[in-house]
Amino acid sequence: MTTAPSATPTSDCFAVFGLPRKLWIEMSVLEQKFLQLSWKLHPDNFVNAPEGERELSLKRSSELNDAYRILRDPVGRVEYLLQIEGERKEGEKKQQAPPELLEEVFELNESLDELRDAKSSGGDLGQLKARLRSAENNFQEKLAEVDAQLQSVARDWDAALEANATGEARKKLMARMNELLNRRSYIRNLVANVAKELAEV
């Protein structure tokens, strides 16, 4: 006989794994827990069970898989944390370049325009492509920088949780993470656009 999956409501992805809302997660431990819980919850174990248990298994195992998917991705994890804490704000500024990148973004867009012009007029593309490639690399480096910063704030967040920091201190950290996430998504879009233009040449 199989035991019915427990009906306790799971509030969030961290809770599914019995984890605190910390951002550093040991992947091998997470994987092991994921596999153990999968044995218990997977619908394959409930084919001959009453409908109620079958439905519960479907619900709980989908929650488990969703949680594993979200927590496995270090950036997705931060985004998710901010969401459940009500601090994720993509805002109106999503389409705007972060101020410190303005100059480089301006140059990049110019190069992209030139590339399009050259493409339609059949001009020399070699030099432009080289310039765009170097811009792409430059932004890739910036992406790595943002990721490093995000990691550092994540460590601060974990320390703040452990130290039972005030709500205000936490909010400040989350605001910083939110800002980094927005910058990250902006740069990523930029890199993707350049890659797309270059691929079409």
Binding site: W39, H42, D44, V47, S62, E63, R69
Partner: protein
């Protein structure tokens, strides 16, 4: 409860397998023709009888307009999707086809799930004959890259065939299950599955844990319209042209000859997997310059022509590895599945890419069905020492402003998987919110596969006030379920999802009823065969007894009675009415009762009174 079988519903061949608890191994069930392969061909005789498998394959040559093959290519697809297929396959679409295709067999019209249901019912019969009991639950395999509509269509086919499909399992995953059991291997496995009409590549991780073995699919990719059929289609126009050039004869105008040419090519193709040269010969009818067309094909020339097909498989292979975040050399084992992988060029290409020889120990035709039987056993036992974690092959998205798609469940997510979206209204007193669900990797809705459209009903309220949470869930079969909840009231909304490319539940009911009618025809045929066999043995026994000296004891009247009963029975078995045959068998038994009696010596006579002649 009756056992669960595993079914491989293939483009070219279908198989049914079961798990033998005695040996601890899965095994394929043989059909009445002594083969485990049931050709996926369906034919409708002029009298309305449905014929499936080998006999249908023969009818493909004799009555092509009443027969259909490769129907899997049409599953879950609309007319617009199959324009390419129509140029290459002799599908006869009914004008009523739209988002659901309807094909003609003779004067009748069927949907692809109904045709597939005939194949499933045939396999169900094989299994029932083998076990001597009813079989009504099955695990059915589908290409890993099948989308929601194609999966739903397969599940519908099961329903129409009177089978509860407990699980749809991805074909490469099933193959991995069969191989894992066979080889007891651990590590990262790539399964390359090229069948008659579909290509899949899956990357799995085999993990040993204290509870048992876990088969975790990391990624999958493929092309649901790429297979051995495509190789045939590469050669057909060329062969047809050759016949026009040499014999001034256009095979394309003769459906029957065209099928024969295809068959001859397939035989030559198979031979080229074993030998360096093959000769294709096709007898031509009168009107052609020569009576036979004969042409030689070398493996080298063959490989040059099929190279593009083989090359097309490598794109998905690379994408699957990229999604699994693995390099080719990190794969520990490579498994080849599907009849088309017998082609030496494919073996070489795969070996070169992964840098290791692929596994081919298990019969590539049977391995998927065997894996389905393993999964059937897992489901049957409730908790077993094996667990399969599969993924959804395509991203699930919803249409947003401007026809863009927001991805809510990414491809290669472990299933079951879900995503919640919160909806509200844009204008005051808006009563409905339109939702369009799509599947695919492209950015625009028009480039993705439409799964369903529905309208969320909202009570009239100021704009932005209503909050409806919609839950999209992909179940363990890879099929979408949708549920909605009013966040403020907690009230569940009933959503009627109109599938974009599916059959409505009410239609399935009707098809099931019709299919049972066909099944009764099958039943009648089986009954007739049994009655005929029984009648023949009685007739033999009667004529034997009549020749015995004891028969002289019978009166002339009795003898005349027996003779007329014999004649009546002979007449009935020439027809197909099994009820009449049964009646006449009883009649003859009655007429020969006295003969039977006198055949015994008086001592046993009294003991065995009432016994029939045929019992001795």
């Amino acid at each position: 409860m009756a056992r669960i079988v595993g079914i491989d519903l293939g483009t070219t061949n279908s198989l049914v397998a079961y798990f033998d608890p005695q040996t601890g191994k899965p095994k394929c069930i043989e059909g009445p023709h002594g083969s485990t392969l049931c050709p996926s061909v369906v034919s409708l005789d002029a009298d309305g009888t449905v014929v499936v498998g080998e006999p249908a394959q023969k009818r493909l040559l004799t009555q092509p307009e009443r027969s259909i093959y490769s129907v899997k290519r049409l599953m879950g697809r609309g007319v617009k999707d199959i324009q390419e297929e129509l140029k290459l396959f002799p599908f006869r679409l009914d004008p009523s086809s739209a988002n659901v295709i309807r094909v003609r067999l003779g004067d009748k019209v069927f949907t692809p799930p109904e045709i597939s249901a005939f194949i499933l019912r045939e396999l169900k019969n094989w299994a029932e004959a083998f076990f001597g009991e009813a079989v009504d639950r099955a695990v059915v395999t589908v290409p890993a890259y099948f989308n929601d509509a194609q999966r739903q269509a397969t599940k519908d086919a099961g329903k129409i065939a009177g089978l509860e499909v407990l699980r749809l399992v991805n074909e490469p995953t099933a193959a991995a299950l069969a191989y894992g059991l066979h080889e007891q291997r651990r590590g990262k496995v790539a399964v390359y599955d090229l069948g008659g009409g579909t290509f899949d590549i899956s990357v799995l991780k085999l993990i040993s844990t204290a509870e048992g073995d876990i088969y975790q699919v990391l990624s999958t990719n493929g092309d649901t319209h790429l297979g051995g059929d495509d190789i045939d289609n590469l050669f057909m126009p060329h062969l047809e042209q050759e016949i026009v050039d040499f014999h001034e004869f256009d095979v394309a105008k003769h459906p029957r000859l065209r099928q024969e040419l295809r068959k001859a090519f397939i035989e030559a193709k198979h031979k080229l997997s074993r030998e360096d040269d093959a000769v294709l010969s096709l007898p031509l009818p009168e009107g052609a310059r020569h009576p036979v067309h004969r042409t030689g094909l070398s493996r080298a020339a063959f490989e040059e022509i099929i190279f593009p097909v083989v090359d097309r498989t490598m794109g998905p292979v690379k994408l699957a590895l990229a999604d699994a975040k693995l390099a080719p050399e990190e794969i520990d084992e490579v498994v080849l599945v599907g009849g088309t992988t017998r082609t030496p060029l494919i073996r070489r290409t795969v070996q070169q890419f992964f840098g290791r020889p692929p596994h081919t120990e298990l019969n590539p035709d049977e391995v998927v069905a065997l894996g389905a039987a393993v999964q059937a056993n897992i489901l049957d036992r409730g908790v077993s020492n094996m667990l399969l974690l599969d993924v959804t092959p395509l991203s699930l998205g919803i249409e947003t402003y401007g026809g863009a798609v927001a991805k809510i469940i990414p491809r290669n997510s472990t299933i079951p998987a879900s995503a919640q979206e919160l909806y509200t209204t844009g204008v005051d007193n808006q009563t409905g919110i339109d939702i369009h669900v799509l599947q695919g990797e492209r950015e625009l809705a028009r480039d993705c596969r439409s799964l369903a459209r529905f309208t969320l009903k909202v009570p009239p309220a100021p704009a932005g006030l209503p909050r409806i949470e919609v839950k999209f869930l992909i179940d363990a079969n890879g099929i979408l379920q949708v549920a909605a909840k009013d966040v403020r009231t907690g009230e569940q909304h009933f959503i009627e999802v109109q599938p974009s490319y599916g059959i409505l539940d009410s239609e399935i009911e009707r098809m099931l009823e019709e299919s049972i009618e066909y099944a009764e025809q099958d039943f009648a045929e089986r009954q007739a065969i049994e009655a005929r066999t029984e009648a023949e043995s009685i007739l033999v026994a009667t004529s034997k007894a009549q020749a015995q000296p004891q028969a002289a004891a019978l009166s002339g009247e009795e003898r005349a009675k027996i003779d007329s009963a014999v004649a009546a029975l002979k007449e009935s078995i020439a027809g197909s009415d099994y009820k009449l045959m049964r009646k006449r068998i009883d009649g003859l038994n009655q007429a020969t009762q006295h003969l039977a009696e006198v055949m015994m010596n008086s001592a046993v006579n009294t003991v065995l009174q009432g016994k029939k002649l045929a019992d001795f």
